[in-house]
């Protein structure tokens, strides 16, 4: 039988290899050896150290690349710093031209980039050719547009400066685009470190920067391992760090930057739920899993790795999944008809094997298709684990491989509970033909991206990023640009005087003057869960007027009071579901009552801050209450425009429970300037008033009690602010910590936030003019009071 006749009989697919000749020739032109790209040119590493990058499908060496040391990092940062003034002072249109040129050049060399990506990473050529590289070009096009519109759309904002960026190996060039495009569009200069496993396309991109004549030093690319990344993160002249990678490293970066003013965005791990209801298009959902967990060998931070199936369809769904797994083709990444390519590195393959073994040891049933894997290269078959429970390791830990852990649920409520039963919160996929079910679930899932009847859709116009320990900040869309901008006034704000914090309070019993002085007849308590409560410690501490006379005593709250306050704040989460109109009404009522009590509150405040400031604070506070009552139903999300037939809704959701340490210089106005935006957006608050005048608490809770604010929405704990702030910053059930006291506190909360990676918002130890509406109220605060959830809803009949 002839060869053709044999194939006619077997109807097999046969090899269909993409020819890598041109791309290998490109590597050869560079003599298969790359230095760093610094200040527009190639520079040998100062230490002279190189390492190899290999093709995981063959084990062949592709090239040797420079190992960046501290001196290389310093040279790159210096180049970026030197380039910053020039780049930042270009007109938006001039920057737009460069970004447009980058997009064009990426398109012109798209196949080279795709093949290099596949060689270096092991992902199927179909994915690098049809998904990664087109998205890279799209990202630069989209951000060329933002560059053009920057001044019109972000008035009052300024670039951060020099940005240090560290990216992972799973989407090497795409992650580069996600980092570099918004940074350049907003006028920053960049030092980027690609992952050590996959540096090649970043180096190819460096050449593209040269080809389009990007000014020297605007983009610098350093290769190296974790040590290089660490040096970049710690470099004192970097203004912002953007990181995508593991939660573990994200924590280390938060810690390493705590003592600095570096702005930080983190896009970390995930264990994203893939929820299938009994009324879903099951065949469609199975293809969703192919695009979810079997995309890029499952090495995707937002992979739908936890399958939640409604009990009634579980059996037939699993049958379908198993059948589909049989038709997935695992093999040479350069083969155009391959679904699953090679795992990036031996260490990753080992990790996948270990976790699957552990899952099986814990009782999971493992199914894998019958087809043989290639003998050579790093491959792992598509894998389904059933008989998995929320407590199973494979249901908790991010495997980062083509492994799906399946569980069942009974009701919608249980589906949501299981979906949210994770420390992560990156993405979710919800399958139901009933739009009520789908959107109801989407709204309740704690994740930055929710795909309805779809999965792993990405676009430059839509924000991507996590809740909880999946990180903070967004990439893509308007929300992503804000990560590379700061209010211009804030950048220039002066540092607070070092000794502005009042002396640590002393316990009342030790103070002999406690019973002296007239008119001390108010008993101030803590305010927790809508109740005035005595401090757990049973101590109070004296508060003195500016002239030294005793004003009264404030309860000395301790960690247990904070614990109770956080519990109360959690219980009050119904506030988030209250309508924005309803929240506005409550805030207006607060304003009404504050206005009624203006004179008495002002008189008491005057003894601490003087009559003039007291009057101004109260008046301004009433105005601020009105502002946030107004904002409550007006800080809208957006509907983005990705190139798909769908509605992508960017919803502003409250962050959750926020701990707030108030500024001492304006006891009333400062407190309200922070608490109001938080509660206006539906958050609940544990507030720590300034130590200078905690007696304000009694005025505040009377105000809240009489204004129909639900119990637990605002909780106030007085005491030693630094100690209390520490407890809140460490509390794993607090979602964000805002500190506006002093620089030491700002550094402290950043450091202590790493437990659950809570979002951090501080004054960076700078002076804020709380009487100036341009500084002290509005969008900047509201942006920190919300996190953006992008819900993708494809439609069509």
């Amino acid at each position: 039988m002839s060869k053709i006749a044999e194939k006619f009989a077997s109807m097999e697919y046969g090899p269909a290899l993409e020819d890598p000749k041109e791309s290998l020739a490109w590597l050869d032109r560079h003599k298969r050896k790359f230095g760093h790209f610094i200040n527009g040119g190639w520079q040998q590493p100062m230490q002279g150290e190189y390492f190899d990058t290999t093709d995981p499908a063959s084990g062949d060496k592709l090239a040797s690349v420079a190992q960046g040391g501290a001196a290389d990092v310093d040279a790159a940062v210096k180049a970026a710093r030197a380039a910053f003034p020039g780049w930042n002072s270009l007109t938006p249109h001039e920057r737009a031209r460069y970004l447009y040129a980058l997009a064009r050049q990426v398109q012109k060399h798209s196949r080279r980039l795709a093949v290099l990506e596949t060689l270096d990473n092991g992902k199927p050529i179909r994915e690098s050719r049809d998904i990664d590289i087109p998205l890279v070009a799209r990202h630069f096009y989209h951000h060329a547009g933002w560059a053009q519109l920057l001044h019109q759309e972000f008035p009052g904002y300024a670039a951060c400066g020099v940005v240090g960026q560290v990216i992972p190996w799973n989407f090497p060039l795409l992650m580069l685009a996600w980092k570099i495009a918004p940074a350049l569009a907003t006028g920053n200069t960049v030092v980027l470190k690609p992952a050590e496993f996959t540096p090649i396309t970043a180096l190819a991109f460096a050449e593209i920067c040269q080809e389009i004549g990007l000014p020297k030093g605007v983009v610098n690319i350093l290769t190296g391992d974790g040590r290089t990344g660490e040096a970049l993160v710690k470099h004192p002249d970097v203004d912002k760090i953007a990181f995508t990678g593991s939660t573990e490293v994200g924590r280390a970066i938060r810690k390493a930057t705590a003592q600095s003013h570096k702005k930080l965005s983190l896009e970390l791990g995930g264990k994203s739920p893939f929820i299938i209801f009994d009324d879903a298009d099951l065949d469609g959902a199975v293809e969703g899993l192919v695009d979810g967990i079997w995309f890029n060998q499952g090495q995707v931070c937002c992979a739908g790795s936890r399958l939640l199936m409604q009990e009634s369809i579980a059996e037939s769904l699993v049958t379908k999944i198993r059948a589909r797994m049989e038709t997935l083709r695992v093999g040479l990444p350069l083969d155009k008809a391959i679904d699953i390519g090679a795992i990036v590195a031996p260490v990753q393959l080992e990790r996948i094997r270990k976790l699957v073994d552990q899952g099986v040891a814990e009782g999971a049933t493992c199914s894998q298709p019958g087809a043989q894997l290639p003998v050579k290269g790093l491959y792992y078959p598509p894998t389904l684990l059933t008989n998995v429970h929320p407590s199973s390791t494979v249901a908790q830990e991010e495997i980062f491989g083509p492994v799906l852990a399946a569980m069942t649920f009974r009701t919608l409520r249980e589906a949501v509970e299981l979906a949210n039963n994770t420390t992560y919160g990156l993405a979710a996929s919800v399958w139901s033909e009933n739009i009520n079910v789908a959107l109801h679930v989407a709204s309740q899932i704690k994740a930055g991206v929710v795909w309805v009847n779809s999965t792993n859709l990405f676009d430059a116009a839509c924000g991507f990023g996590g809740y909880r320990e999946s990180g903070y900040g967004r990439e893509g869309g308007r929300e992503g640009l804000l990560e590379y901008l700061e209010p211009a006034w804030f950048k220039q704000a002066a540092a607070l005087p070092k000794s502005s914090a009042p002396a640590a309070s002393q316990v009342a019993e030790e103070d002999e003057s406690v019973t002296s002085g007239p008119g001390i007849d108010r008993t101030v308590k803590l305010y927790i869960g809508g109740k005035q409560s005595r401090p757990d410690s049973g101590y109070s501490f004296p508060i003195h007027a500016s002239d030294g006379t005793l004003l009264g005593e404030a309860p000395l709250g301790n960690r247990k009071d904070i614990r109770n306050a956080v519990e109360a704040a959690r219980k009050a989460e119904g506030w988030a579901k209250a309508t924005a109109h309803n929240r506005a009404q409550v805030l207006y009522y607060v304003g009404e009552n504050l206005s009624q009590r203006a004179d008495e509150i002002s008189a008491r405040l005057a003894r601490v801050v003087g009559e003039k400031q007291a009057a101004r604070e109260v008046a301004q506070s009433i105005e601020r209450v009105f502002s946030y009552a107004a904002w409550a139903d007006k800080f809208d999300g957006a509907v983005h425009n990705p190139p798909f037939r769908n509605v992508s809704i960017a919803m502003n959701e409250p962050v959750g429970a926020i701990g707030i340490a108030s500024p001492p210089e304006v006891p009333l106005l400062g407190f309200l300037s922070l608490v109001l935006p938080a509660i206006a957006m539906g958050n609940t608050v544990v507030a720590i008033p300034s130590e200078r005048y905690p007696l304000i608490t009694s005025d505040l809770y009377q105000l809240f009690d009489t204004s129909d604010l639900p119990a637990g929405v605002v909780n106030i704990v007085t005491g030693r602010a630094a100690e209390l702030t520490k407890v809140v910053a460490e509390h794993d059930d607090v979602d964000a910590i805002w500190s506006f006291t002093d620089e030491a506190s700002a550094a402290q909360v950043k450091l202590l936030s790493i437990g659950n990676l809570k979002q951090v918002f501080t004054n960076e130890g700078r002076v804020i003019d709380w009487f100036n509406n341009n500084q002290a109220e509005g969008r900047w605060f509201l942006q920190h009071a919300v996190q953006v959830k992008n819900i993708w809803v494809p439609y069509g009949e």
Partner: protein, 338 residues
Amino acid sequence: MAVKTDLERRIAEAHTTPIQKGELQPNCGVPLNLDWVEDVRVNTSAVERRAQSLVTRRTVKKEWQVAWLLRAITCMDLTTLSGDDSHQRVLRLCAKAKQPVQHSIMKQLGLDDFQLKVAAVCVYHSFVETAVRALEGSGVKVAAVSTGFPAGLSPLAERVGEIRRSVDAGAQEIDIVITRAHVFSGSWQALYDEVATFKEACGKAHMKAILGTGDLATLRNVARASMVAMMAGADFIKTSTGKETVNATLPVGLVMVRAIREYATRTGMIVGFKPAGGIRTAKQSLDWLALIKDELGDRWLNANLFRFGASGMLADIERQLEYYATGRYSADYRHPIA
């Protein structure tokens, strides 16, 4: 090991469908089960994404491509359904059906003894006898479009009579059209009865049920109509008459083959599939074959269970084959017309 509940055990054991076990019987229909119609869920966007990515996920090259193109030819219903059809025109078509690719090319491909032919010739009733005579002994079957093709709106007795006349004239395959109105009104019983009546009239002849998917407006309607036609005993389900404004598209095909798979899983009975209309290129034929291979399995990749309703596609395939044989791009006029 953890304790397994009944559901967990069922999930753990939910491996094999009749399709995978290969235990499938020819379709003899089942009583109408409205639950199966109600159960249909089709998400249009998800179907479109799959159809879109399928053609980028699969490709065949070199001798594999040649083999697949030859396979496509063997699955063709070479068709002429025009108002100006004549006996001579049909004879020409039959000649081409018996020898779809020139000997010289087959020889260059090393396939002298291959005996390549298309699956069937598809004509109006008036030309059945002509085709039967022309194709006698060739193994190429004769299919007749029937039941008031393409609208399917003549009186039922006429339509049934038409089937009988074609079968009597020697047609081994009958392509019937359903009453699309039954789908719009959800008259599943009426649709079922209609198709079952046609099936009975077909007797031993193979029945392909044309759903007129371009008319049905939604993919869910396509899935429901597919399910009812199969329950009523259709041997094949077929997308279109070729006369609608939109004919065989991959999303429609995907929905229909998934319905076939669902039906096989539920009944253990096997139904064939025929996309028709709009398939003009060799590349398209490969896309369809990949769709069938991946969604239904190799078992469906032959003329017993898969057909192309096409006329123009053959010319493009011939050009591709010649290109492979000679290494030079070919031209239309170099190949005998059908």
